[in-house]
């Protein structure tokens, strides 16, 4: 492992890669601060730029954008009560009241230090977990991978919240269906309708840009956020940043919650589909329950613990979500799904063999995550008052520029104007489903996992002479599939139980 860390340090500390982390953190912070645009859009907008880089530098840039966007989301939650990402909603509960009471600088500092601690503890746990899990999963065969892909597809659906599970499963199926367009593993053209632009299938970049960056920018226009943007700009001019320093008493107060929330966040982050949002709410809830009566009264009014806990858990979960991606090749969230897509387009296959076949990519990403955390703390935090001013750029300028950059991002990779037309159609359809409250992340996940799912199923069938016996005769495959069924059934049964209980009580 030490050798691996040295490889990672060597790669991450080259001038070009340090610059990538720096650019990524700044760009991510800015995009993450814009209400409506989260880490997924930030990463989608950055992917075309990374195509010109080597895989390690590309992923380092993306990891920087990810951390920056998470940090940016928390900043707008604290300063203007507008969480840029769902994972920062719990941050606003105490962060915004603290900023309103004239301690914006302190609130940002607590958020940054907690994020740093969560990220650091998460990175250490990642260093320990990933090689261990990867070595176990080295014994996996195609049938296990097939089962893992099925699990990856269903886990996101299962965690999508009450009333959304069936819709999420349906959207995952749509993603899988879109993944079958183009040339199949045997070389046959499927569902291309004779259109040569579809023979290579729908591009991952096109789909992610259209469903997230384009559709999100359009929904900002639809919701008429230009007026609220002006209010936010006015609010920002009134924010008093004061000192970024914390007192010893405050540090002592948040130390234990930060430790607990880091561990909780990381473990929640590992679960595919659970992610930063659930982790931040769990962290907040746990600390409120553990707090003394006096501390409890402060929650919701600017409590340092109430701000530190969700921020720590959120960041530790972001790090934890890399575990299934790097060890098993299955993404745990929409963000890691986009990263998986990016890895595949660089020709890098994530999974247990990644740290054997591409140790440079593997270790440099892990090390650069830590470097990203340091940069956010050392550079971004003091500069936040100035970066926040960028939020004052009117949305009538920002929205068209985001739309233009999304379209250009796809064009500059393919140089095919026909892809722009497809992108526009996909973007409008994605917007329609966004309006109808259908989740788009499961669709993207299904699309990314679809190809690998079919490849592994075909290979397993070849090994097992065309029979499906591997589904129950391979113990690991059967166990993963059982966990998949349980993951799918438990939330549905819980919902049913709650409804029945409600009816009985009425």
């Amino acid at each position: 492992m030490l050798e691996g860390i040295l490889i990672g340090l060597n790669t991450a500390f080259t001038p070009i890669n340090l610059m990538m982390v720096l650019i990524g953190c700044f760009a991510g912070t800015f995009i993450g601060m814009l209400p409506g645009l989260g880490p997924v859009s930030a990463i989608a907008l950055m992917i075309p730029i990374t195509y010109g880089l080597d895989p390690a530098s590309g992923l380092i840039l993306i990891a920087g954008v990810y951390y920056g966007a998470v940090f940016g989301g928390s900043t707008s939650a604290i300063l203007i009560n507008a969480p840029g990402v769902s994972g920062a909603v719990a941050t606003a509960f105490d962060g915004y009241p603290m900023a309103q009471s004239g301690h914006a600088g302190k609130a940002l500092a607590i958020a940054a230090y907690s994020s740093f601690a969560g990220g650091t503890i998460g990175a250490v746990l990642l260093l320990l977990f990933v090689p261990f899990l990867a070595s176990i999963s080295l014994s996996f065969q195609s049938s296990e991978y097939f089962a893992l892909m099925v699990f990856g597809c269903t886990a996101v659906a299962a965690f999508s919240g009450e009333g959304q599970v069936i819709k999420a499963i349906l959207m995952t199926l749509v993603g899988l269906m879109l993944a079958t367009i183009g040339e199949d593993p045997s070389g046959a053209q499927r569902l291309t309708f004779g259109n040569p632009d579809l023979s290579d299938g729908i591009s991952f970049l096109l789909l992610s840009m259209a469903t997230f960056a384009l559709a999100e920018a359009l929904s900002v226009v639809l919701k008429g956020k230009s007026k609220s943007n002006q209010n936010e700009s006015q609010q920002l001019t009134k924010v008093n940043f004061n000192s970024l320093k914390l007192t010893r008493r405050e540090v002592n107060e948040i130390a234990a919650p930060v430790g607990r929330s880091s561990l909780l966040g990381f473990l929640v982050g590992i679960l595919p589909g659970a992610g930063a949002t659930i982790a931040s709410f769990l962290g907040y809830g746990m600390e409120r329950n553990l707090a003394s009566a006096d501390q409890k009264k402060q929650f919701g009014k600017g409590s340092a613990i109430g701000l530190a806990a969700p921020e720590t858990a959120n960041n530790a979960a972001s790090t934890g979500s890399f575990v299934p991606l790097l060890t098993l090749g299955i993404p745990g969230s929409a963000t890691t799904a986009i990263m998986l897509g990016a890895l595949l387009s660089y020709g890098v296959q994530p999974g247990p063999r990644l740290f054997i076949d591409n140790p440079t990519v593997f270790w440099s990403v892990i090390v650069s995550m830590y470097v990203g955390n340091i940069i956010l703390l050392v550079l971004n935090l003091p500069l936040i008052p100035y970066i926040a001013r960028l939020l004052q750029v009117p949305s009538q300028f920002l929205t068209p520029i985001i739309l233009f950059l999304s379209l250009m991002g796809v064009y500059l990779v393919s140089f095919n104007p026909a892809e722009l037309s497809i992108m526009l159609v996909v973007g409008v359809v994605a917007l329609a489903f966004r309006i109808l409250d259908y989740p788009l992340a499961p669709m993207l996940l299904g699309f990314i996992l679809g190809g690998m799912l079919e490849d592994n199923l075909r290979r397993a069938l070849l090994i097992w002479d065309g029979t499906y016996d591997f589904l129950w005769q391979r113990p690991i495959t059967a166990s993963i599939l059982l966990v998949t069924v349980a993951t799918l059934l438990i939330p549905s049964l819980m919902t049913l139980y709650k409804r029945l209980a409600r009816q009985v009580s009425q």
Binding site: I166, M177, A188, L218, M408, Y411, L412, L420, D437
Partner: protein, 162 residues
């Protein structure tokens, strides 16, 4: 009929049901590889399984939508103030995409940005022209002169030059 579709879950499920039916019909036309039949899994197998599953789940969702009171009516969305600018912006993007080859990167993109700024309420003409033209020329310079990428100058430019 309008009342039938005035439910977000139902309308979405119905659209996906139609999509899945078209997908299923198209899956039946996928050419078969003779070697695939040896493993009992052909190029059609997964698409057909997926479309049948999606059809089943969409029907289930349409059915549940009659009993689930939490689904919001679609008509609620029409109360939003941004329909007109959003639809105009989509139309503008469609025009941008279709005229891209003819007008070329610089002209098409600068016009797109300028009109989009004005559509979203920007009234300061000199400022918006400076932003749109400045951004496009900056990008053009970076992409063509620094990264050496080829950006189409457009048929109009070539016609004018010839």
């Amino acid at each position: 009929m309008m009342h039938f579709f005035d439910n977000k879950d139902r309308l979405g499920a119905f659209i996906l049901l139609v999509f899945s039916l078209i997908y299923l019909r198209s899956s039946m036309d996928i050419p078969l590889d003779p070697f695939d039949s040896e493993i009992g899994f052909t190029s059609r197998s997964l698409p057909m399984f997926l479309s049948v599953s999606a059809i089943f789940i969409s029907i289930l969702l349409v059915f549940f939508s009659f009993y689930d009171s939490s689904a919001k009516p679609v008509s609620d969305e029409f109360s939003h103030i941004g329909w007109k600018p959003m639809l105009t912006l989509i139309l503008l993007m469609a025009v941008y995409v279709t005229t891209f080859n003819y007008l070329g990167f610089v002209l098409a993109s600068a016009l797109f940005l300028q009109i989009a700024f004005m559509l979203l309420g920007e009234r300061r003409l000199i400022l918006s022209v400076c932003v749109s033209l400045g951004l496009i020329l900056f990008l053009w310079f970076i992409l063509t002169q620094v990264f050496g990428l080829y950006l189409d100058s457009g048929m109009l430019y070539r016609e004018l030059r010839s």
